[in-house]
Symmetry: C2
Subunit: 87 residues, 2 copies
């Protein structure tokens, strides 16, 4: 019970971690200080975490990483949108 509660809190914090970055990028329309390698490496890692969660039948890992991959996809989309705009 406590374990699930801590897992859910951890998941909630990390899975929405990129939301403030999305808001900032939308506001400034600038992403030049953001590393695209970090974004893609994270994407690949989170994808594998989802597979790991499925294999370990751990719903917390699956849900947390599924939401993360969605927010991360939005950020990657914005990265290309605004990075292109600068050139």
């Amino acid at each position: 019970m406590l374990c699930t509660l801590i897992g859910l809190s951890a998941a909630t914090l990390t899975m929405f971690s990129f939301v403030p970055q999305i808001i900032r990028s939308l506001r400034t329309k600038s992403v030049k200080d953001v590393s695209p390698v970090t974004l893609f490496q994270f994407f690949a890692g989170v994808f594998l975490w989802i597979i790991y969660g499925i294999l370990r039948r751990d719903p917390v890992i699956i849900i947390a990483n599924a939401v993360t991959i969605i927010t991360l996809s939005v950020l990657i989309f914005l990265y290309f949108k605004f990075d292109k705009g600068v050139k």
Copy 2:
């Protein structure tokens, strides 16, 4: 076995995700497009993931997040170093 291998690959990718961002920030000495809220929210989340890993006795989760919290700490340090420099 396959499960552990996928978990370790996932962990390796995500725990070193911030390394390219650290390299970029060191090179450009600029962090103005990086959201500090994202960094702190991530830090709090990763900290709770470590507790969750300990409670679930999952070494992959513990190690992955322990390394992440170290690289994230370096990035937070750089954020304040270079953010201050701009003002």
